[in-house]
């Protein structure tokens, strides 16, 4: 165990996997000489050289094609998007190529590639840079969709992603990069996909989230504990595959649920979670599942408007109160 930042845990995962497997390489904008826009790949160029830590032009289609094509012939690329907003440029390569080649080839082609980078809202980065689209990637079949919350998961999930034989959408939250956590040093420490983590046990209501949304839920749970409301907080870790068993088991116990995320709420992951919980635990529910999500507007720049657009623990608390009312 060592204490390190989420960001360092990601670097450790990439470093260990690159030491373990010569087929793994990292490419993206400013990942090498500049040491990474968010310093995630700091020092890796010096350690692995320019053939394995590769600076690219500002060409997201090219980056995605480079990673996908290399994966199709047996390498295990990690492609960094400077932010996930820019992956919009590469959507055809991601959705119509990387996600489908295995199926279209009847399983004859494997595509072991990780697309990673910061996602979600930053601080006043405006509309074009404050979004993450995990709901889109979960909708399109063929991807695994991973959003680590803790530093340990940042390492363990990224290592699993790199060893996975499929295209993995790996979304890091820029707001979590600096977060400290205990991270196992074991180079075989892998966090399996499709296993949610119960971050806090509780009997009154189930709060389901992922990525930074988990911290909202934990903060809300702390507050609510003071009013003797015990929340069970579930961190999904991966949206595809999705661990509904853990969610449903909890709801059968608590009979109430709030699903929360930072992103736009309309037609999103929390819509799916709400639908599934109602479908699978309708008779156990004492109240409809409450959704918490970001305001359905392009992200405004002004600090006060941005704060109003992003959900906070207060929104989670309000949802819990509605559910338990």
């Amino acid at each position: 165990m060592a204490t390190m930042r989420y960001q360092q845990a990601l670097r450790l995962a990439m470093t260990e996997e690159m030491e373990r497997d010569p087929n793994v390489f990292l490419c993206g904008e400013e990942v090498a000489q500049y040491q990474g826009t968010y310093r995630v790949s700091e020092g890796m160029l010096q350690k692995f050289g320019p053939n394995r830590v590769v600076d690219t032009p500002i060409s997201e289609i090219g980056i995605a094609g480079m990673a996908t094509g290399a994966a199709m012939v047996g390498l295990r690329p990690i492609a960094e998007f400077m932010t996930w907003s820019f992956a919009l440029e590469a959507m055809d390569v991601l959705v119509n190529h990387a996600a489908k080649i295995t199926y279209m080839s009847g399983g004859r082609i494997k595509c072991p590639v990780v697309f990673r980078g910061p996602a979600g809202v930053g601080t006043q980065l405006s509309a074009q840079h404050s979004q993450s689209f995990e709901s889109w990637y979960a909708h399109a079949p063929g991807f695994k969709v991973v959003l680590p919350y803790s530093a340990a998961d940042a390492k363990g999930l990224l290592k699993t992603a790199i060893r996975d034989n499929n295209p993995v959408i790996f979304m890091e939250h820029a707001g979590l990069y600096g977060q400290q956590g205990e991270v196992p040093d074991d180079p075989e420490f892998l966090v399996p996909f499709g296993q949610a983590a119960i971050r806090r046990e509780g009997s009154d209501i189930t709060l389901v989230s992922y990525s930074r949304g988990v911290s909202l839920c934990l903060k809300a749970a702390e507050q609510l504990a003071k009013d003797k409301i015990e929340c069970e907080v579930i961190d999904l870790r991966t949206l595809v595959p999705l661990d509904m068993d853990t969610v449903i088991a909890s709801v059968r116990k608590t009979h109430h649920a709030v699903v929360a995320q930072e992103e736009w709420r309309n037609v999103s992951m929390v819509s799916e979670l709400s639908a599934r919980i109602h479908e699978q635990a309708f008779d156990d529910l004492d109240a409809p599942v409450e959704r918490v999500g970001g305001a359905d507007v392009p992200m405004p720049y002004a600090k006060n408007l941005e704060s109003a657009a992003i959900p906070t623990e207060r929104d989670v608390i309000a949802a819990v109160k509605r559910a338990l009312a």
């Binding site: 289609i61 480079m66 094509g69 055809d92 390569v93 295995t102 279209m104 004859r108």
Partner: protein, 348 residues
């Protein structure tokens, strides 16, 4: 065929062939080239019928008239080792790589015995064991992928190359330019073959580009190239030999614009609706057919005494049998099992 060691040896010879020596190329090799073009032509001629019998569905794009573009290139490759990528107009590429007519036809009919297990269809023929990384339904789609394949070949320090086919219309796709620039920057072993058949569906090159010299578009990204006659397979062979030698020696990409013509409609829909009338005349089609690559090579071979009418008749008979057997095989093959619907979404 493309896999035989004989071929591999010849390929390396070919790589060093100069115009003057061209005359001495072994008979068998040229005859094989003719045979490959004929196999492509006859297979393509068989597919519309099967579509009208509702045995083949979806889109269906034929290569008639463009045979020289694969027959002049693919046999010079080292398979396995080298890789080929192409568009949805991909039946010829699969055959040239060594995919059997049976596996092709079964895929066109969506059978479990198809090269993609029936999940891909006409636009997505694929055969990795034979170096064929597949067709692609997206215009320009193969080009960003080729960048990654070329990168992997360089990363692994092989001497292998990637050949990427795409159409004139694809030159207008942004992803093609992003990839070209990165290929020029990283110097990757890729042979780009622009299948310039004059039209993108109903849009002629003149109506779709701000500047018609495609070689210049490649040069603008640091990729050397040239334009050659794609209706003459010997010319294509020479150019490909030059290009392949350049790539293997210098380890950098090469761009070949091959001018050619698509005899039938863009796809079967274009033929059924007669949409072609909107963009080209029967005279134009007839003029191009005068330059037919098969007739041209056949004349040369007969002139050189490499091929007799009897040989051709024999070849036709063999190929007819090959195509008939492929159709019989495909029709006799079963559809993919229903429970395979959810298989192959992911690899283990």
């Amino acid at each position: 065929m493309a896999k035989s060691t004989v071929e591999r040896a010849k390929a390396s010879e070919a790589s060093s062939t100069s115009k003057s020596e061209e005359g001495d190329i072994q008979r068998t090799e040229l005859v094989d080239t003719y045979r490959l073009m004929l196999r492509i032509r006859r297979l393509e001629e068989s597919v519309y019928k099967k579509f009208h019998e509702a045995k083949i569905g979806g889109y269906l794009h034929r290569y008639d008239g463009q045979e020289a573009l694969v027959a002049g290139v693919v046999p010079q490759l080292q398979i396995p080792g080298d890789y080929i990528l192409s568009t949805y107009r991909d039946h010829a590429h699969a055959l040239a790589c060594g995919t059997t007519a049976k596996a092709v036809m079964a895929e066109l009919m969506g059978r479990a015995t198809g090269c993609a297990g029936g999940k891909g269809g006409s636009m997505h023929l694929i055969d990795p064991d034979n170096g064929f990384l597949g067709g692609d339904g997206i215009v320009g789609g193969p080009v960003p992928i080729s960048l990654g394949v070329g990168w992997a070949l360089k990363y692994r320090q092989t001497k292998n190359i990637c050949v990427c086919y795409f159409g004139d219309g694809a030159m207008n796709q942004g992803g093609v330019h992003e990839a070209f620039n990165m290929v020029g920057l990283y110097k990757l072993p890729i042979l780009y073959i622009l299948e310039n058949n004059q039209y993108a569906m109903g849009t002629s090159v003149e109506r779709s580009t701000g500047q018609p010299d495609f070689v210049l578009k490649a040069k603008a990204h640091g990729i050397t190239g040239e334009r050659v006659d794609g209706m003459d397979v010997l010319t294509v062979r020479e150019a490909a030999a030059r290009a392949i030698a350049h790539i293997r020696e210098k380890g950098e990409a090469y761009f070949l614009e091959l001018t050619c013509y698509r005899y039938v409609g863009h796809g079967i829909g274009d033929d059924n609706t007669g949409g072609q009338k909107n963009y080209r005349t029967e005279e134009e089609v007839a003029d191009w057919k005068m330059r037919d690559p098969l007739l041209k090579l056949r004349d040369t071979l007969e002139a050189r005494g490499f091929l007799t009418t009897q040989d051709v008749e024999k070849m036709e008979a063999e190929i007819k049998q090959e195509v008939d057997e492929a159709i019989a095989f495909a029709e006799a093959s079963s559809e993919p099992p229903l429970d395979s619907l959810y298989e192959n979404v992911y690899s283990e």
